[in-house]
Symmetry: C2
Subunit: 225 residues, 2 copies
DNA sequence: ACAAAAGTGTTTTCTATACACCCATGG
DNA sequence: CCATGGGTGTATAGAAAACACTTTTGT
């Protein structure tokens, strides 16, 4: 019988959102292959760790950020996807507020950096394909799950949530209808605080009702905007 | 550096539908571990084949059936899921008409058999968990995709499609509203043929308009019954 | 007072749901 | 002629979409 010599890796596609821009966290590879090229953070799975542990560890090692919830995206196994030999990679997917983390490169990464998803550099391996699938998933999620908790500040004006949705959907939405729908979900708590953005009427701040938010996620709302 | 010694396998969860019953194809294991126990068909990935090739090959070897489209379900990587050592398994998912295939066990399988999903035997490894996730996916699919093409005969009366939906949803649906909705999707072509089921008015036969069907799948309709 | 962003209701349209009787055939 | 399953339309309620002016602040 042919001895199997397949290696297993994990990759973490981490999206951030800030003021109308969606970005993704990439690292510059320190070693060959693709030395000096940008790539999705990730690396080989160790013998005794779960896949989730592996992806969190690799992400932390290479970029300094620690995320406790990464969702499995897809497993990529094309035999020629890695020039070093057969490497099957399980890709994960996460959302964060970029400004809530300080990123710093280490181990296999020479550099770690946020890239706007509309201005991506050339990527290593089949990482462009992985990223494309992740972007599709991100845009798909919005229709069957509430989104925003992981991407917005703790306290935020309604307009931030609205801008997030217009950015992810790539089109304008009606402010009144949107507000009605979100309010109807009971997922936001209104605070006794306002924020002023220099000019214009100050906005009331909201926060997500965490319990209700995760309940909706679990139930899987269908949510057409 | 610690040399990685993880093995990679694939598993194929194949669902069948026949006259109001959903079944799944299982094999009885010929070798240890779990010798003589039922399991989801699958096995190790070879060095030079893609994951899709591997899962189709294993399914064919163990059960005799050949399916060209299996969808990736999830990757299971719990370090203790296999008593032989670290085995990560990529599970796939497919739908067929059981009566369109003749099943016969071979290679690692002592027997291959359809089981009603309400009367499952004890399963090997973490296959019960895999199957539960697959069943959830099957039930979820129905709300965002048309379904039935792979599960019904080429030509079928409307009532067959209706019964499939009631079975998958686990509840009754309104015959008139259901028909309206399906007809509205333009996914069925009416044939000039009828079928009689012994007593009662003969039913007009339909077939799926394949082009339209796969177009809807791709677009991803949201389809509440 | 004006510029800039936040906040708010009503009307219309569409979609989902509820609901019951007639039709065609076999025995 | 009766038992059995197949086929059909309409009315109502609820949800989504379209739509524009007023409020509050900073300058």
């Amino acid at each position: 019988m042919n001895k199997q010599s397949i290696k297993l890796s994990v990759d973490a596609v981490v999206f951030g959102y800030e003021e109308g821009n969606i970005s993704v966290l990439l690292i510059k590879r320190k070693y060959a292959p693709y030395k000096g090229k940008w790539a999705i953070p990730g690396g080989f799975v160790l013998n005794n760790e779960s896949l989730e542990e592996a992806v969190e560890r690799e992400l932390h090692e290479e970029t300094g950020i620690k995320i406790s919830y990464l969702e499995q995206l897809y497993t990529f196994g094309n035999p020629s996807r890695d020039p070093r030999g057969r490497v099957v990679s399980i890709a994960y997917f996460g959302l964060v507020r970029p400004n809530a983390f300080q990123i710093f490169a280490s181990t296999d990464a020479e550099q770690a950096q946020w890239f706007d998803i509309k201005e991506l550099p050339e990527l290593s391996f089949d990482h462009r394909e992985i990223l494309d699938i992740a972007i599709k998933r991100l845009q798909g999620k919005i229709t069957y799950e509430p989104i925003g908790f992981e991407l917005l500040d703790k306290k935020f004006p309604f307009s931030d949530l609205e801008k997030l949705y217009t950015t992810l959907l790539g089109r304008d939405i009606d402010r009144r209808n949107f507000r009605k729908k979100i309010v109807g979900l009971n997922v936001l708590d209104e605070l006794d605080e306002k924020i002023s953005k220099g000019s214009g009427r100050p906005a009331i701040l909201f926060k997500f009702n965490q319990k209700r938010y995760f309940q909706l996620k679990k139930e899987g709302i269908i949510f057409e905007i």
